[in-house]
């Protein structure tokens, strides 16, 4: 999310809020689809979520914490110190780790012979995780981009943008927790 | 141009309303129990909408006509009373109409789709597929054989996928390509589709209902006159959609019994 230079810092933030609204609706649609599809479907086979998902959850939350720590370090004087950059990079790394973890979870399921089309439960699992993963990649790209932009001192614009990216990143956590809940309860 | 436009609006309004009133094209005669109530509801709505149509279009025409003198110096006049009366008017007018329409309407709707089916209803199993309807009467034993999708063989005439070899119920099932029903006897259709969504539409019965694959949808009606009308599909189902049709024959009980016997003999 790179706001046009000169546009008020709030624009980036508003943009993220609006985007979050859209993403929330998309997932609301998936969820309601799952509810309807699940309604007395004889072919719905419950399965155990791969335990690695819980590890991934911790990793994702950790990356949010790291991101916040990074932003704090930059603080209001807009000075980007080593520590700040280290934290931001850590956030990025943890984000990647999360994705790797998700892929491991997929391989775990595939190992159990559960594929996209095996049964509706597995279908929805792959759809949910893949959709979330793609949105997360978007966040990673933005984060990487910010990391490049905050080499030295930053202006209010860039700092605002970083804030917006952080907001999106935290939203990814919330979204994931929500999905995990849905999957854990209804799958 | 302004006056021309005003005139156009007026003419179009009067002509098109005239054709409605003249009933040059109108509903076919209805032959069902729910029909009359649906027709009267339609006519009431037609009158209400018609009045609103004429009044508002002509108002537009008149207003345009009256301001059509662009050149003349004229003080601009605000609409008397401003927006509030209009809002109240619209809300009241439409609100009342909405209320009455939906009250009366829901009663008709209930009778058509939700009212309990009389016990003596004639049960007919209907299957829609690309691009034909097939009907099944239970035969003497009064029970339908179980359909097996994998046994469906249209070339061999096994449209329902019956298995007479192992299923006694199926042996006396009477499968027909037309729907025949006795007059004044409630009929209960159990509707299912074998491939995609289709629809069952008989204008004369004022009745329409989709077939949905994976669902068995009950639909009941009572025909009040001996007649032969068309049953057409109204849900886009593929290239043969336009030709997916068959006939509904409403017969006297005697004719119906004979017809059914003939059909059974031919099986």
């Amino acid at each position: 999310m790179t706001p046009k230079v000169g546009s008020p810092p709030s624009a980036a933030r508003t943009g993220v809020w609006v985007g979050m609204g859209a993403i929330a609706m998309a997932f609301a649609a998936y969820t309601s689809a799952m509810m309807v599809r699940r309604e007395g479907a004889p072919d719905w086979h419950h399965f155990q979520l791969p335990s690695i998902l819980y590890v991934n959850t911790v990793i994702l939350l950790a990356s949010s914490v790291a991101l916040e720590a990074g932003r704090r370090r930059i603080g209001d004087d807009y000075e980007v110190g080593r520590a700040a950059r280290a934290y931001l990079s850590l956030a990025l790394g943890l984000g990647v780790a999360f994705l790797v973890g998700q892929i491991l979870a997929w391989r775990d399921l595939a190992g159990q012979g559960l594929f996209l089309a095996t049964n509706p439960a597995s279908s929805f699992f792959y759809v949910f995780t893949a959709a979330h993963g793609l949105h997360l990649i978007g966040g990673l790209v933005a984060l990487a981009y910010m990391l490049r932009r905050v080499r030295v001192a930053v202006g209010p614009g860039t700092y605002g943008a970083l804030g917006a990216v952080a907001l999106y990143w935290h939203f990814m956590d919330v979204l994931w927790l929500y999905l995990l809940g849905v999957l854990a309860v209804w799958l | 141009m302004a006056k021309l436009f005003a005139a156009l609006v007026a003419v179009i309004t009067i002509v098109s309303t005239g054709i409605f009133v003249a009933r040059t094209w109108w509903l076919p005669p209805d032959i069902s129990v729910v029909g009359p109530s649906i027709d009267s509801q339609l006519v009431e709505t037609m009158v209400a909408a018609g009045v609103l149509f004429v009044v508002s279009q002509l108002t537009l025409a008149v207003f345009v006509w009256r301001v059509s003198d662009e050149k003349k110096e004229r003080p601009i006049r605000r609409f008397p009373g401003g927006a509030t009366p209009l809002v109240v008017l619209a809300t009241a007018l439409v609100g009342v109409e909405v209320l009455t329409l939906s009250l009366v309407g829901s009663k008709i709707w209930y009778n058509t789709f939700l009212a309990p089916v009389p016990a003596n209803a004639l049960k007919v199993d209907v299957q829609a597929g690309q691009f034909a309807f097939y009907f099944r009467y239970p035969g003497p034993d009064g029970t339908f054989g179980t359909p097996h999708p994998d046994k469906i063989d249209e070339g061999g005439g096994n449209f329902f996928g019956l298995d007479p070899a192992n299923d006694i119920d199926a042996r006396d099932d009477i499968v027909t390509a037309e729907l025949a029903v006795p007059v004044n006897r409630p009929v209960l259709l159990t509707m299912h589709a074998k491939d995609v969504i289709h629809s069952f539409y008989v204008p004369e019965l004022r009745l329409q209902q989709d077939f949905v694959p994976g669902l068995v949808i009950p639909l009941h009606f009572t025909a009040t006159q001996v007649a032969k009308t068309e049953i057409v599909c109204t849900q886009l189902c593929g290239l043969g959609h336009y030709n997916m049709k068959t006939y509904l024959e409403v017969m006297s009980q005697a004719d119906f019994d004979k017809w059914l016997k003939d059909q059974a003999a031919a099986q």
Binding site: - | G129, Q130, F131, A132, D153, E154, G155, G156, G157, F159, D163, P164, A165, T176, A177, E178, G238, L239, G240, N243, K245, T246, Y247, A266, Q267
Partner: protein, 237 residues
């Protein structure tokens, strides 16, 4: 050598068929036989064409389904008998095979052709048909043919037994039999078939029926017409 004989034989199909004892027939042998069945075959159902009045009025009495068509003394029609082994190769005939849609029926019900041979499908009805073959070894297609439009000319490149249907008229059902040989026969209503132009030699014959499956037998074709009958086991359902 045998090739030329075979070719000659092909050229002489007519003659050999009509006059098996003709001297030239010794150049190429032929196989004839009768297809019969034992047991009770399923009762064919009358077809209600109410949906398509333009077709319905062409049939005084409703026609029946053609899954199992029988003739006098247990003759079985629409059985394809063909050389499934021992054939010395054959080339694709240049003449097209014809299929007609008339009275919402495929005429004939079973049409046999050589792989790559062109097939002409004509619509002689007052209504639109759509031809929808469901092949397993050839690409599937599905085309409408409005009344009065020119014949659809097509071909199948691979040997295949292809059920064909018209979606607009679900009862319309036929078979396109695509073979790797030009040595085949199709049993008529009296159950007889003839395969001609076969050079003398050992062959395996396969008889195929859309409902009762396939049977095979080995024959040795000599100068004289060889006899090869098949008897299918029929079941009522």
């Amino acid at each position: 050598m045998t090739r030329t004989i075979a070719a000659l034989g092909v050229a002489l199909i007519g003659t050999t068929a009509w006059a098996p004892s003709a001297p030239r027939a010794t150049l190429a042998g032929s196989v004839t036989g009768t297809i019969t069945f034992t047991g009770t075959p399923p009762k064919m159902k009358p077809i209600d064409m109410a949906k398509e009045p333009s077709c319905a009025k062409q049939h005084a009495t409703p026609i029946e389904t053609e899954t199992v068509v029988t003739g006098p003394n247990n003759a079985l029609q629409y059985v394809v008998v063909y050389v499934s082994a021992g054939d010395q190769g054959s080339e694709t005939p240049t003449t097209p095979v014809h299929l007609e849609q008339k009275g919402c029926q495929y005429i004939p019900h079973v049409v046999v052709m050589h792989a790559g041979q062109s097939l002409e499908i004509a619509n002689n009805d007052q209504t639109s048909h759509n031809i929808h073959p469901l092949p397993t070894k050839n690409p599937e297609w599905n085309k409408s043919q409005p009344p009065g439009s020119p014949p659809i000319v097509t071909k199948y490149d691979n040997p295949d037994f292809i059920p064909v249907k018209c979606n607009v008229h679900p009862w319309m059902h036929g078979y396109h039999i695509v073979l790797a040989t030009s040595h085949f026969g199709l049993s008529g209503n009296d159950g007889t078939y003839t395969i001609t132009g076969l050079p003398p030699g050992k062959y395996t014959l396969t008889a195929w029926h859309e409902k009762f499956g396939t049977m095979t037998q080995d024959v040795t074709v000599g100068a004289q017409p060889t006899k090869a009958d098949f008897q299918f086991k029929a079941t009522p359902y």
